[in-house]
Symmetry: C2
Subunit: 328 residues, 2 copies
């Protein structure tokens, strides 16, 4: 009963597409836990996406995309562009489907992410960040091999797949007797997950959180047009959401859909990572802690049952040790 | 349809009791994830009990016990004896039921555990380990107030409650298309969880793992009678399973039921804690990593689908940092 429009690479992502992605994701991935965290008398519902097989939510969108490849497309392989988590998502899905994968990654990505991507059988092509244009490198690979590009966020399947996180959280809250209104607070890089969540849960309030200096999506929504980050050399511990510029497919889905937003400092992030260690016994990476960091810092006003994305947990030990130590 | 025998404090724990506990636990606690971990081409199924609201499996037995208290017993309160995890389990269940709780804890228990127990509203009485007899202190409290003693492992409800971990894991494997034979490898202190698992999953092979120097249960099973640890001042990072002597109710349930056993060194434990950090994005405490440590060290021969208990994650940051650093 799949409409052909749900397979069109140029389509707008849709709630119908998220529902279709959910059925596919549920076949192979158990829901990640939605863990209650009491903070100042309020319950935050933390979606523990670091417990996905690749340590982040990116497996959702990658699986939705790759599992829809035709036999002909499978034979030509896929190309991904990623700072590390989407890389592992694409590599994981490709291995499961027997498809070859090449991933374009920044050379300063966390070592653990580069190694994990290789361990999943993908070819890794490194580029300099800032400096080289990763999208141009990927385009050149695609032109040469005919492979299918799986962008980390500017792709309808990827957006729909990430949205399944919202459907899962909604169902988990319902099972605990908590029905809307929901307030979803999301870590935001290029806006793939945020766009998907907005579509998945149309009645939920949606807040997005970006790292200080990497707030291009927030500024784009304020400007009513896509703008880039001002300084691509601004340091941030949040490699996974360190994205200089969003794309029209994400911008269009988010415009008018975001209720509030915030930026977080490295110190906000440290405090959130530490609380997650102390109270949830989970390892969250800096970029995956942004949403919680904003709530803890009082930068997002909560409305309704608050779902916070803990988006991933792939962080090199030396960085983790320093970030947690800084909060102690 | 509850037989009165299932409420007798002097009863032997039973599979029937575990099934009853499961129904009660399932009402308030979602199953913890059973996460696959690939090691040397084998899949270990890790039961992530640190994701319980109190950070360990001990909530299971405590809830099963306290939720069966009569109104009269509730009015007199409960006394627990614990190095920290059972303490939090009893305190959590007591708070939920509006029952007062006093917990006898060693003064060298992890600070986080003492603080968390107090934060849950329990009164904490500290004792010296080694030296003072914690059971005697608890008995004196009970004699004075008429409170109900909830022992950390030598109690039929506690044993049955901990056994629910096994039923959950079995159901989760079945949902993934994996039916027996199971091999459960359990971290073992006094033998509460091990005894419960043996009853819960009668067809599973059962292995128990204790810290080097604290192998009284293994030695008791070998001797055919209960023996104590040889040196109660032997240092171990595994505070949560640092138990000098088991009790007849545990010994009787385990005798003839344990297929194999092993002891683990601090170095084995460090390696397991690190792998759990790197690959599962979870924080596991030293005692909660013992079962995995034994498997990784090749000390347990696997038979069937291997379920490994990651029993808890309550570990002070300074200890965690040192243990993970030691493995790096």
């Amino acid at each position: 009963m799949t409409g052909q429009h749900l397979l069109d690479p140029k389509r707008k992502p849709s709630r119908e597409g998220v529902l279709r992605a959910m059925a596919k994701v549920a076949e192979i991935l158990p829901p990640t836990p939605l863990l209650p965290l009491e903070v100042d008398g309020r319950t935050l519902w933390c979606k523990a996406e670091m417990l996905q097989p690749i340590g982040s939510f990116k497996i959702r969108g990658a699986w939705h995309r790759l599992s829809d490849l035709t036999a002909e497309e499978c034979a030509k392989g896929v190309v991904g562009v990623s700072s590390g988590n989407h890389a592992q998502g694409v590599a994981w899905a490709a291995r499961r489907l027997g498809v070859s994968a090449t991933i374009v990654m920044p050379e300063n990505a966390p070592k653990a992410k580069i190694e994990a991507t290789k361990a999943l059988g993908a070819d890794v092509v490194l580029y300099q960040r800032p400096g080289e244009d990763r999208d141009a490198i990927a385009a050149a690979l695609v032109a040469k091999t005919g492979a299918t590009l799986v962008h980390a966020f500017a792709n309808p399947w990827v957006i729909e797949g990430q949205g399944t996180l919202g459907l899962e959280a909604e169902a988990q809250l319902k099972a605990r007797g908590i029905a809307g209104p929901l307030h979803i607070i999301a870590c935001c890089g290029g806006g793939g997950m945020s766009a998907g969540l907005g579509l998945a849960c149309p009645d939920a309030a949606l807040s997005i959180v970006e790292p200080e200096g990497w707030d291009d999506v927030i500024r784009s929504l304020a400007a009513g047009k896509i703008v880039s980050v001002i300084d691509e050399s601004h340091p941030t511990p949040c490699d996974s959401i360190q994205t200089p510029r969003t794309f029209p497919i994400n911008f269009d889905a988010l415009q008018g859909r975001v209720s509030s937003s915030a930026t977080v400092t490295p110190s906000d992030i440290s405090a959130a990572m530490r609380l997650v260690y102390d109270r949830l016994c989970l390892v969250v990476e800096p970029g995956g802690a942004a949403a919680l960091a904003a709530v803890l810092a009082g930068k997002i006003e909560l409305q309704g049952a608050a779902v916070v994305t803990l988006s991933g947990g792939n962080v090199d030990w030396d960085v983790y040790r320093q970030m947690i130590g800084a909060a102690a």
